[in-house]
């Protein structure tokens, strides 16, 4: 089979899938008794197209089913009427055609069922657009990925160029060259954004099968349910869309089977007989929220209370094997399968929330990243090799000082909870030089599980382009993919769920716990100001371990708010480069404030220049620590000198 032939077959499969989607949607409407001449015409034309395409590429079964459908619809077209009783058998026929398509084409029907990288991207995406001119062009997904690779590398090349030339250009006062370099960066950003946009598809590309799924469950359960879909135009990464369709279908079926009450119960509760299930999608806080809401009975008061205890209703309901259904019906219980949905969402670096009100209904929310191509990860190093962990899965970064052993396994205590501590190298089944006695550890958490993963050092958080490891390494568990870092190194992106599942008796070089700080003494309070999550958490950990109380802020403006809200703050540690209000501006504001002008301020900065050090001291910083020289002891000594412990 040549590449061109394969392309034609893929195109034929996608087109046939589109036609079937349209027929099905029209039939579902017709079932309610509304099928005008135009609807009949459209179904007839689609059936005819399927027959033509399928015959041309040799899918005999598909062609034969389509031909039967065409005949039936042809008769309707002549009479100008569509008897409602025809809808059910025709829906069955579309199912049969889909199955035949999957068998004969050797792939799924349309993007819904396609898991491979061979899925098509429609760009600009407009699958339901009626006219050919708006359909856009079909481009192989791997071509888009290849382009994204090239763009990513060009961005890195530009950064190297800036690094090499930047200082020289500034020193020479060459404004034109500086401007051109800046322009190049903006153009590359735009290019990268538009390529990433090409990888996205609207949610509507997978919603085609949902009305049918809802109808089937409702019929089986003897319920009447209306499905309302809003925000179907919301764009999502193709890879996320491929995997999320089953999860949404599951949530919809759950909502109908276990959310919506029987018509009798609804009447007794004074609700309309027809239940309502809503699928809503939209952007929220830089992520995509997909919500499935029903106006059914909601979960019991008891479960709500348990949810409050645990801190998350989703965790209670998604506990493996959990079901709120009193009896096991033919369909999955409310919680059955929810654990799988949760796990899947988390493997995509997303999260699951559930809200419910007894008697009023339940709302399940999937929060997903906009794109898998760009992922915010926490970078760490073990054995000289960089690794990334999706940031939403990292609860905090700690310095594992007080390591205790529980049945032979090392663990640390955080917020009154014992968390097992494992060496990243041991978890991955590789070897690396021994860890220091108090290693840096990332606490990775999902649902009720958490694990502290020890590494040599944490490098910081960064937005990276995630690439697949390719077919040869597809069988290796534990990785979401790989990313190329600014220095050209490849970082493997770890799958947090795999880390949580890996039960390794990690061999850690654990030394006797150091003498604990006397917590009875009134501990000084330190305000840590840094825009980087990692830095804040690392400093918090170092300071808390030494017995200090810690407050945090993400920039100068937030720091001033904290200072106003928490008068007992004894000392401020601040970064220099921060959005909204930088460290020097914060320092100036503190010095100008009547009550706080003598508050000790330590400036911690990545800026190494003597100039900055002078500027910091001149503006009244009590100490200045350069990040490159940063070590725990220097920091603690400096704070001890300024406020005591």
């Amino acid at each position: 089979l040549s590449a061109a032939d394969r392309e034609i077959l893929e195109l034929a499969g996608a087109e046939t899938g589109d036609c079937l989607d349209r027929i099905e949607a029209t039939l579902l409407e017709a079932e309610g008794g509304h099928a005008d001449a135009e609807a009949i015409d459209s179904m007839f034309r689609d059936a005819h197209s399927i027959k033509g395409t399928a015959s041309m590429v040799g899918w005999k079964e598909v062609a034969s089913i389509a031909s039967t459908m065409e005949d039936t619809l042809g008769e309707c077209r002549e009479t100008g009427e569509f008897p409602a009783k025809l809808a059910a058998p025709l829906l069955k026929a579309t199912d049969a055609a889909r199955k035949a398509l999957a068998d004969e084409s050797g792939s799924g029907a349309g993007p819904t069922n396609e898991q491979s990288a061979g899925a098509d991207v429609v760009a600009p995406a407009a699958p339901s657009a009626p006219t050919a001119s708006r359909r856009g062009i079909r481009v192989g997904a791997e071509k888009v990925d290849r382009m994204l690779d090239a763009v990513g590398e060009t961005v890195l090349h530009h950064r190297r160029l800036e690094h090499v030339l930047g200082e020289r250009i500034v020193a020479a006062g060459d404004d034109i060259a500086e401007e051109e370099l800046g322009l190049g960066e903006r153009l590359l950003d735009e290019l990268q954004d538009s390529v990433i946009e090409m990888r996205t598809l609207p949610l509507s590309s997978i919603t085609g099968s949902f009305p049918r799924a809802v109808r089937d469950v409702a019929t089986a359960e003897g319920k009447e349910v209306e499905l309302v879909i809003t925000g179907a135009e919301t764009q999502l990464d193709r890879v996320i869309l491929e995997g999320i369709s089953d999860a949404i279908t599951h949530l919809l079926r759950n909502a109908v089977a276990h959310g919506i009450e029987s018509p009798k119960e609804r009447e007794a509760a004074g609700k309309p007989a027809i239940g309502r299930v809503e699928l809503r999608a939209g952007q929220r806080e830089g992520m995509v929220a997909i919500e499935v809401a029903d106006d059914g009975g909601g979960v019991s008061q008891e479960l709500l209370e348990r949810g409050e205890e645990v801190g998350s209703l989703a965790d209670v309901l998604a506990a493996p094997g959990f079901s709120t259904a009193a009896e096991v019906t033919e369909l999955a219980g409310r919680g059955v399968g929810l654990d799988a949905v949760k796990e899947h969402v988390e493997s995509l670096a997303g999260s699951l929330e559930i809200r419910s009100e007894p008697g009023r209904g339940t709302e399940t929310i999937l929060l997903l990243p906009l794109t898998l191509a760009l992922l915010r990860v926490l970078l760490c190093e073990r054995g000289g090799q960089p690794f990334g962990v999706p940031l939403p899965s990292v609860r905090e970064v700690v310095l594992a000082t007080d390591v205790t052993s529980l049945s032979g396994r090392p663990s640390i205590e955080r917020h009154g909870e014992s968390i097992s501590l494992a060496d990243l190298a041991a978890m991955l089944g590789t070897s690396a030089p021994p860890l220091p006695s108090a290693p840096t550890a990332m606490i990775i958490a999902s649902s009720a599980r958490s694990v502290a993963v020890a590494c040599d050092r944490v490098l910081g958080d960064q937005e990276v382009v995630v690439k697949t490891l390719g077919p040869l390494l597809a069988g290796v568990n534990g990785y979401l993919g790989a990313a190329i870092l600014g220095d050209g190194r490849v970082a493997l992106i770890l799958d947090p769920n795999h880390l949580l599942k890996t039960q390794v008796a990690a061999s850690l070089a654990v030394e006797a716990p150091a003498g604990q700080a006397d917590e009875e003494r009134s501990a000084p309070t330190v305000l840590v100001v840094d825009d980087q999550f990692t830095v804040r958490e690392l400093q918090r950990s170092i300071l808390e371990t030494s017995g200090y109380r810690v407050e945090t802020a993400r920039n100068g403006r937030e720091a001033l708010e904290r200072l106003a809200a928490v008068p007992e703050i004894d000392i401020v540690l601040t970064d220099v480069e921060m959005p909204e209000m930088d460290g020097f501006a914060l320092l100036a504001a503190i010095r100008q404030h009547a009550d706080r002008s003598s508050l000790p301020v330590v400036v911690i900065s990545a800026l190494e220049g003597e100039e900055d050090r002078r500027r910091g001291i001149e503006q009244g910083a009590d100490a200045y620590i350069v990040k490159q020289e940063f070590d725990q002891q220097t920091l603690l000594d400096t704070i001890l000198r300024l406020v005591g412990s």
Partner: protein, 127 residues
């Protein structure tokens, strides 16, 4: 079935790869190991923004190779790009298309597709 081949040295042995299967010859560069992968796969590397796996040809073919590896296709040395006549000698390995005598040296003609198939997860599942 003669064609242009890239002739390489693996340990003390000579092999030829069909030129259609060779994208480019590059320095091995920095290889990032992928813990958990099969021993024949040295890891992944960055080839101008693409993450590609690095296969150790010596290990796949069972050749003893202690020398420093300098080329990305995991061979020890690229000798030449040359026309290799149709393999004249039959060989038993499924990973080779055959062998040919070139200037008195026996050169194995590598079947790149078979090697990639043998290293795929499906093949592993069958073993």
């Amino acid at each position: 079935m003669s064609g242009v081949h890239v002739r390489v040295r693996v340990g003390d042995e000579h092999y030829a790869l069909p030129v259609e299967d060779v994208v480019e010859v590059a320095e091995l560069g920095v290889v990032t190991p992928v813990p958990g992968s099969r021993a024949n796969i040295l890891g992944v590397r960055n080839l101008r923004g693409r993450v590609i796996p690095v296969i150790d040809l010596a290990s796949v073919l069972g050749v003893d190779s202690s020398g420093e590896r300098a080329r990305v296709v995991a061979v020890d040395e690229v000798i030449d790009v040359e026309l290799v006549a149709e393999p004249s000698e039959a060989v038993e390995s499924e990973l080779l298309k055959g062998a040919a005598l070139i200037d008195g040296t026996l050169v194995g003609v590598v079947d790149v597709r078979s090697i990639l198939a043998a290293e795929s997860p499906e093949a592993e599942a069958q073993n």
